[in-house]
Symmetry: C2
Subunit: 323 residues, 2 copies
Amino acid sequence: MGTKDELLRYLREEQGNWISGEKVSRRIGVSRSAIWKQVSRLRQEGYVIRSSSKKGYLFLGTPEMLLPAEIREGIGTEVFGRKEIVYFPELDSTNRKAKELAAEGAPEGTLVVAEEQTRGRGRIGRSWHSPFQTGIYMSLILRPKLPPNEAPKITLVTGVAVAEALLAVTPLKPDIKWPNDILVRGRKICGILTETSTEMDAIDFVVVGVGMNVNTREFPDDLKEIATSVSLETGKTFDRVMLMREFLRQFEHLYTTFLHSGFESIGKRWSELSILLGKDVSVHMIDRTCKGRVMELDRDGALIIKGEHGELEKIYSGDIHIE
Amino acid sequence: MGTKDELLRYLREEQGNWISGEKVSRRIGVSRSAIWKQVSRLRQEGYVIRSSSKKGYLFLGTPEMLLPAEIREGIGTEVFGRKEIVYFPELDSTNRKAKELAAEGAPEGTLVVAEEQTRGRGRIGRSWHSPFQTGIYMSLILRPKLPPNEAPKITLVTGVAVAEALLAVTPLKPDIKWPNDILVRGRKICGILTETSTEMDAIDFVVVGVGMNVNTREFPDDLKEIATSVSLETGKTFDRVMLMREFLRQFEHLYTTFLHSGFESIGKRWSELSILLGKDVSVHMIDRTCKGRVMELDRDGALIIKGEHGELEKIYSGDIHIE
């Protein structure tokens, strides 16, 4: 741990109490002027720290930012968010950046975080509205030892993790809409974009992108009817860092379960959380549209739809509309 | 077409004949000193052009290089090799470079070519011996509108194209060894490395890497028993450019057939060229080994193997050894 991180941890322990510069210097093991430099850097990052030549330092609060040190603090995971966290005040797309880092060899668990995305992306070239410091815009690099045809299940695992995180720390009741949306009261609160790089018959890496509307108070006109945020649904402002940590914990747990014990238990939980099971839907695919009732999620992660003549169809991709 | 390409085409038409500088200048429509400059550039690229103040220019030959203008000359394809051809005297890996270009948006048909690879790659992290100017080391960017689970078939399509190209322009009888090797008399003459980038349920791009031993005369000790080259098998030196053009033509034709009419006819041809059908093999997979007789290539591009108790297994990936 670097001097700055050690200092931050100590200041945080003593939050609300003045600590003398000498005491801090002894504890961290560097000179008082080195401490002063690090305090300046922490302030630049948005931490609120008062100082007095007589009383020393007083730590008052953490910034409203998704800073790496904040995300790591007490995260309780083994790998996710414990490797490098690459932070950007502004970025075109966290998925694009994560793919670039993965291609350069970044390990599983590497996290890319942005306060704002200027070209946030959704499925099939759609955009994801990503205004400054209101949402969670993050991409996680995974390197699962799985055959490529198992990769689509990672999107489903991620969906369950997002829903579990929202259930754990908010009063909301999220629904999963296959394949990659999380809804609250029928409106999109979170989207998932999974991108996979495959070398012949093995996965090289998977980038899991998550865009969650947390403290967004207003949406552009074209999204007003279809999008919502944790804040709009609860009337409160939520701590994005805490929500992100909860998601990473849930996701790591489910991902590990998936790799070691298979998809079955996660598939069951997915089905409980799904908004589509039993509904009559139309599915728009690249080359055709299919109508029917959603019967189940099968072992491959495909949706089984029963058409009007009783025929069963296996759907691997498409846009679904509830009739 | 640039001045240099026009000049090259004209000189080539008149190969073996002296043409006066004035005539060349009139034909191309630039000054005689501009012609002189372009001739110098062509010479730097390895073209053999004599010049005389009295007689003008005499074109004698093309260089032993995989130069873009050489590859394009009379290639007869619609897309493959008709987009940008990115040429390197030396490169770490053509697949790595092609993936980088594809991520930046390079269109289908973009080709990366190197005279030498310092880190030529094969399947599962293996290397591909790629000495200077003896082989074809190339990667082609594709953007097929296919669901991701169809991507592995592109490796099989490529294998058929390599075999057809060798059949068309050499006296060799190549065999395809599933999934990605082309053999002559049981030795590797060509390897294929396909890498796919997927966004949710759609392919973003596929990079098809081909490494072919053409004029290689000697292999390092560890490859001597298992590798061969067109030259070692025929006793002749082959024109790499011509062989590459033939491959690109065959590949474009088969790829187009695959996209528009499906895999069936290519699968049949693949089976005719396969060395494995009917053979007793052991397949080494990540987590286990399976033994049996190779029965057929199924519709998914998987190999069907019949075990000793008559049970059928579908193999999607692995290393195969003939027993």
